[in-house]
Amino acid sequence: MTKHDMSWVEIGQLTDIPKQGSRVVRTPRGDLAVFRSIDDEVFALWDRCPHKGGPLSQGIVHGRNVTCPLHNWVINLEDGTVQGPDEGCARGVAVRLEGGRILIDGAALAGNAA
């Protein structure tokens, strides 16, 4: 994949997502799960577990991990890697906080589904 220029798009406020929770952003490339950790960090992963496609946005968020609701795979929110004995990687999208506003890399959302 070639590098592209980032274009930050505001998708909501930090407070729109519960602490240790997640919400979905609908995009042309499919659902994106945006997570908020207990320490108010935000992360964004495509809402598909590398195992069987489970919606990660519906899992329990703990530390910088989320546990998939379907078969309890644990996915690291920073880089999407699967923790523990299982293997795999969920893909993410750049996201940042600007004074309580959540911005994601809009350029990553364009184009065909992953």
Partner: protein, 819 residues
């Protein structure tokens, strides 16, 4: 039929020593005596060494009762509660109580125990000054602790420190005043005393050593304690825990020989051959004992003497453990420095470990262990046997695991113990006795081992050792689930966590993780749902449910499917529905294009393949005809399956549907450790399959058979019969009590049949069937919890609750469409 006249046995005092003596006596000669007990306390016999856990809230009074009323009744023993004996007439062979009761005896046992030593400083009689000897004292302390404020404990010995820790856990500011230079100076050397002091201070308890109390100050109630150096320490409560003194006055006044205590010989006989004495009130070979192990040995000897068998008590060497949660301390024997004594010391300041062995002529005569006490019983065994340790000397201090090999496995240490090694110090139970009982009686649960051998049944600190013995004896057949931690975030097991939630009044997940030293920040997907449930079940009126700690199904009140769509199952009370409900369900299926409508196994309708964002609108439509959540997604009451019963069936004996509906209305909405399924069958043909449910009712002509603990999932198991009830009301009450007990004791995700197996069916039956007071208390607690739980979560969400859960944060597609 005539039988020889029974001898009259009168016992003065109803503490642990006479309680144990009676057990031995009734086992050996159940018909020999007509027994009367005078108890100055207005209650039955309880485990006095467990008063500290009662004070700290880790146990309740009911948990420490040794013999309940039914036990006395069952053995035909006359127990006079609240009857203090004021005189013994040895020539008439009678005793007289303060209330005028007179009882004649052939044999008399004096077991008057001991009284607290009260320092006669000015103000010692002020209200707010208490001792620490019996349940009344504990209740007085709890009443004071309820108001908060400052507590001063005078005495830094075993009892004083346990009282201090308990009061601190109850939320008081606590100061301990100790006369000597370091805490527990009779059991500890100064170094261990210092470590203990630091550990108590780390808990927020202030310790002042070399503190000589000058006066207790106050007008109508205690206000402060003044020391010799004029320091004043504010106090709303003063606990005197400076020591005990044998209560020998009654015997002395009756002309029985007494020194510090009532003098007894090795057979436990006093100077009067018809009068025995046991327990803390006696003086044997110049020694008065205040620990439970010697008292139990005396009890055994006294029982034999009473039935004419020869037995002799040879005195005891005692070991001490401090029962303060989180402090590991063990001491035994003599450790004063003296000519000809050597010592071996191991210090690990970083780990907070201190071990000291005192040797004389190559034999251990004293042991002090702090921070790591697992080897205590091994050292104590070497001490009591006077084993020559010359060969072990180099590695002795490292403990048993280092002897004769490099194994560090704690199991190896237990395996290496000789058969006569003492495991349970309180009850004097050896390893051999426990192993024999496990093998011969086929015991597989800790509770059974306790019941059969009494090992770990008193203070409980040897529980770990007993479990290791079970593991050793049973191998893989024993699952040590009792100590399995909740998850990788902690070493605590489920039961410990539940106990500490109560004891430390933890009311939120962050508070719990902080207090119980969770290793992860914010827990994990395994512990959070469990903690959320425990907090909810413990504090139904205060705890705020944490949706983020619930599995998705319980958070969104629908069942997630493999493709991320959901299923919706409305409640159909007792499996009944009607055209209006069915029409609403059909309309919803059409309106939201739900791809599948299926019957569940529990007599309900399942709408499968629902989009998450449609859920609130679907619920709104279903609510209009009165349909509510069926909790098919939750660790909660699922379904109550019924047959048509006497309403339609020619074999039906009772109104099965009616009872099913009543049960479902009583139980719906409650959160439980795991799912709960019920069924009611109208006759023993059992068409509702009641005998494989968590709770199943089988109607019979004479009423209702209540079954429980069945399973038909991963395991298949027929139910156990709990009891027979005469009316519907009684059935509903007993089932509610059963569910509440399960809610209070069950480990998260533990189904009823597993819980019942773990805690024992007897204990369940006792609480929900036999003991009406306990049953009512359970029903009452259930009702309080249900007040907050019976609120339809679907209707609430249809009205807008948790709206963020069902709508996307942002929708690029909509944005584009709008543009």
């Amino acid at each position: 039929m005539t039988s020889p006249a029974k001898q009259k046995l009168v016992i003065v005092g109803n503490g642990m020593a006479p309680g144990r003596m009676l057990e031995h006596l009734l086992e050996a000669a159940p018909e020999r005596f007509e027994i009367t007990i005078f108890n100055a306390e207005p209650r039955v016999n309880y485990d006095r060494i467990m008063l500290s856990p009662v004070l700290s809230g880790e146990k309740a009074y009911e948990d420490i009762v040794i013999h309940d009323d039914a036990w006395y009744e069952g053995h035909g023993i006359r127990l006079l509660k609240g009857a203090r004996v004021t005189g013994i007439d040895r020539s008439a062979k009678t005793v007289t109580a303060a209330d005028g009761t007179v009882a004649a005896y052939d044999k008399l046992v004096v077991a008057t125990g001991s009284g607290p030593i009260v320092i006669p400083v000015p103000g010692h009689k002020l209200p707010g000054v208490v001792a620490y000897r019996d349940l009344d004292d504990v209740e007085a302390m709890l009443a004071a602790a309820g108001k908060g404020g400052h507590a001063v404990v005078i005495g830094g010995g075993l009892l004083g420190l346990e009282a201090a820790a308990g009061l601190k856990m109850r939320g008081m500011e606590v100061t301990v005043l100790h006369l000597m230079g370091h805490l527990m100076e009779r059991q500890l050397d100064p170094a261990a005393g210092y470590l203990l002091e630091r550990s108590m201070e780390a808990r927020g308890i202030r310790i002042i050593t070399r503190a000589n109390t000058h006066a207790i100050v106050g007008e109508s109630h205690v206000e402060a304690v003044r020391l010799d150096d004029d320091t004043e320490i504010p106090a709303d409560l003063v606990v005197m825990a400076v020591g005990i003194r044998p209560a020998a006055e009654l015997a002395r006044e009756a002309g029985i020989e007494a020194g510090r205590g009532v003098l007894v010989d090795d057979a436990m006989l006093t100077s009067d051959p018809d009068i025995l004495a046991i327990g803390e009130c006696v003086e044997h070979r110049g020694i008065c004992y205040g620990l439970v192990a010697p008292l139990y040995e005396m009890a055994k000897v006294a029982a034999k003497t009473l039935i004419g068998e020869e037995a002799a008590y040879g005195g005891s060497v005692t070991a001490t453990k401090l029962k303060v949660t989180g402090v590991d301390l063990y001491s035994a024997g003599d450790f004063a420095e003296a000519e000809g004594r050597e010592e071996i010391v191991l210090r690990d300041a970083a780990a907070g470990v201190y071990k000291r062995l005192v040797l004389e002529s190559n034999r251990i005569i004293g042991v002090v262990l702090y921070g790591e006490t697992a080897d205590g019983p091994w050292f104590f065994d070497l001490l009591k046997k006077g084993t020559d340790v010359t060969e072990l000397r180099d590695t002795l201090i490292f403990g048993q695991a280092y002897q004769g090999g490099a194994q560090l496995d704690p199991m190896a240490a237990v395996a290496a113990l000789p058969d006569d090694a003492e495991i349970c110090g309180c009850n004097g139970i050896s390893k051999g006795t426990i192993v024999k009982a496990i093998r011969e009686k086929g015991l597989t649960a800790l509770a059974e081992v306790r019941a059969h051998t009494k090992a770990s049944a008193s203070c409980g600190t040897c529980t770990g050792l007993v479990e290791q013995l079970m593991q050793l004896t049973l191998g893989d057949a024993y699952s040590k689930s009792a100590v399995e931690p909740v998850c990788g975030c902690t070493d605590l097991g489920h039961d410990d966590v539940r106990r500490l939630i109560v004891a430390k009044e933890l009311k939120s997940i962050p508070a719990l993780m902080q207090e119980l030293e969770w290793r992860s920040s914010g827990g994990c997907a395994k512990c959070r749902p469990a903690l959320n449930y425990y907090l909810l079940a413990t504090w139904p009126e205060e705890y705020r449910d944490d949706g983020q700690s619930r599995f998705v199904n319980e958070r969104v009140h629908a069942n997630i499917q493999k493709n991320g769509l959901y299923s919706v199952v409305p409640r159909m009370w007792g499996g009944l529905t009607n055209p209006t409900e069915l029409r609403a369900i059909a309309d919803v299926a059409d309106k939201f294009a739900i791809p599948m409508v299926k019957m569940t196994g529990g007599q309900r309708v399942d709408l499968v393949g629902v989009k998450k964002e449609d859920l609130p609108a679907i619920w709104a439509d279903l609510s209009k005809v009165g349909l509510v959540s069926g909790h098919a997604y939750g660790k909660a009451l699922r379904t109550v399956k019924t047959c048509v019963g006497s309403t339609w069936c020619r074999f039906g004996t009772q109104d099965a549907m009616g009872l099913g509906i009543k049960l479902e209305k009583s139980l719906w909405g409650s959160w439980t450790p795991a799912k709960v399924k019920l069924a009611v069958s109208g006759c023993p043909r059992n068409c509702s399959e009641s005998t494989c449910k968590d709770v199943g009712i089988i109607c019979v002509d004479s009423g209702y058979e209540i079954h429980y603990a069945g399973a038909a999932g991963l395991d298949i198991k027929g139910t156990e019969v709990l009891c027979h009830a005469k009316t519907e009301e009684e059935t509903v009450e007993i089932v509610a009590a059963l569910i509440q007990l399960y809610r209070e004791q069950g480990r998260y995700l533990e189904r009823i049949y597993k819980w019942a197996k773990r805690v024992g069916e007897e204990s369940i039956k006792e609480a929900v069937v036999d003991d009406l007071d306990k049953r009512r208390a359970l029903v009452e607690r259930f009702a309080i919890s249900q007040k907050h739980a019976q609120d339809d979560p679907w209707a609430a969400r249809a009205r807008g609750a948790d709206a963020h859960e069902f709508a996307p944060l942002y929708d690029f597609a909509k944005l584009e469409a709008a543009e």
